[in-house]
Symmetry: C2
Subunit: 317 residues, 2 copies
């Protein structure tokens, strides 16, 4: 029997947990609530207790466990220091050291976006590739860059912040980061809804979106598939700006593949087509062969990536 | 006595060669002509002969040499395959294998821009840093990205192609790559001269540049230092576009430092100031602390980086 690994993805409301073989087979997954009160002091003990319970009820002992991987919603440096997780109430501390007060197993920690990217490359859409950019189109636009199989975390853990690359000089509205014209103002679910809303306000053109109960990215892509002209224009602008942005990311990192995930990607192939068509207009020829695929692990990417942190035996900020 | 290393930078007209200690001290440097005739078949034998001569006339034997690093003006993949060097007349071949037909020493090869970046990080402006972007402002804009001390070469050696990131939607002239609006159309020596020429043609504004014997980047920066208004506007546009472009590179890679080299950088601190001022307007806060310094190795960066390839014991495409 091979060794076991726990992959733990700590979110603001729930902690997702997975038990893996050391070959990356997911044996079991479950969730526990994230108790953020009192500076999040219960989060690590709760995780340790849940892991201990799983070991006690299983057919293996603590000696069969290679370690615990933790992904946290904030920057983690290469020495395993968490630099602040506002959502969890956490300040700065050595998470690996702290976790070992509750359970005596090797602990490896990383940022959640980067761990999710690592998961997709290990067992998801980017499987088998060594140079991949994983792009998550959700509330914002997140990025995880894998170079030679490892996360590019940068000097202080701010690598892969592709949602905030400056892409439009003419923007008048502010991004959440305080600047204007960031990629995620157009490429995220929020950005698509914002553009759709502006397009509806700017004309009297008929569109099924005028009757949409909820004007979100799903409504826009459903309307595109139904042949709605206004929705198609919004989707084209999404593809134009995201394709241009990702062309720049590729000129810098020359990945073999972009893995596109997050809520927006649920619209499927149409999203890839819109991005890739525009990407090819802008990218340097050295990266024109880069593939575009959909992410496949969904919400499990984080637990997979966390488990991989243990198997790689390194911290990942 | 420590071991010796040869660092060799193969250019289209001359081959620069350096003899180093394994601590990176440059003991001797010299040049030989690059004989490109007959598909460049003499280049490697000439280098081997020159190295052998240096060994024979020195106080050390071939057994004291750790290896030879070769930097070539074209893509080299991680397995040491050169994929074409138009300037040298070379096609596709295993350079390390070929070189060993002429001299029996370990050979490591890499692309010249990337090797130069490695040199600057090892012994130049980026000394002591592990995450650095080296930007060469010459005829074009070249980039070498160092992540955790290693070159980011990408999936097929096209990483760091920052001269061709798309930065301006309104450009009407074509870049050498065939696209319009690439960073190097504004950030290179050529780009600065082009912008100055256009600015002079667009108005009757008096400027010392109207009498310049040669309207090049040096003339523009000299005029800026002398308080010329038109030249200052050109320099501002250079800084605005390059600062914006490098902010994107930083959002992706989060370096601790940008090392700025190439002919344009000879204008000195003013170049760094122009870039950094604009960089800060656009960059995500996670990379706002990134430093800007001047390159220090000049034309020797390539031989230093080539020597480092040997000491790192890895190919660098």
């Amino acid at each position: 029997m091979g060794r076991k690994v726990f992959g733990v993805d700590i979110g603001g409301t729930t902690v997702k947990m997975g038990l893996f073989t050391d070959q990356g087979e997911l044996l079991d997954k479950w969730e526990i609530p994230t108790r953020t009160e009192n500076g999040g002091e219960n989060i690590l003990p709760d995780i340790a207790a849940s892991i201990r319970e799983k070991i006690d009820s299983g057919d293996f002992g603590i000696g069969d466990v290679a370690g615990i991987g933790l992904s946290v919603p904030g920057p983690v440096d290469d020495s395993g220091i968490v630099h602040k997780c506002v959502n969890l109430g956490w300040g700065e501390f050595d998470i690996s050291h702290k976790m070992r007060e509750y359970i005596d197993l090797p602990v490896f920690a990383g940022n959640d976006a980067n761990a999710a990217a690592l998961g997709e490359v290990w067992k998801g859409g980017g499987r088998g590739c060594r140079n991949v950019v994983v792009v998550t189109l959700g509330t914002g636009v997140g990025g995880g860059i894998i170079v030679n199989g490892k996360v590019l975390s940068g000097s202080i853990g701010a690598g892969g912040e592709i949602g905030h690359i400056h892409i439009n000089d003419d923007e008048t509205e502010k991004c959440g980061c305080g600047k204007k014209g960031c990629l995620e103002q157009y490429g995220s679910a929020t950005g698509i809804a914002r553009m759709a809303s502006a397009a509806l306000a700017a004309s009297d053109e008929p569109s099924v979106l005028r009757n949409a109960e909820l004007l979100d990215a799903k409504a826009v892509f459903d309307a595109v598939k139904a042949g709605d002209k206004l929705a198609s224009e919004v989707a084209e602008r999404f593809g134009e700006i995201l394709g241009k942005g990702l062309s720049i990311v590729a000129d810098v990192t020359n990945p073999e593949m972009f893995v596109i995930g997050g809520g927006v990607s649920r619209a499927g192939q149409i999203v890839l087509d819109l991005i890739q068509k525009n990407y090819l207009k802008y990218v340097f020829h050295g990266s024109s062969g880069t593939e575009f695929v959909l992410a496949t692990l969904g919400n499990d990417a984080g637990i997979y990536g966390s488990a991989k942190l243990v198997l790689d035996g390194v911290a990942c900020s």
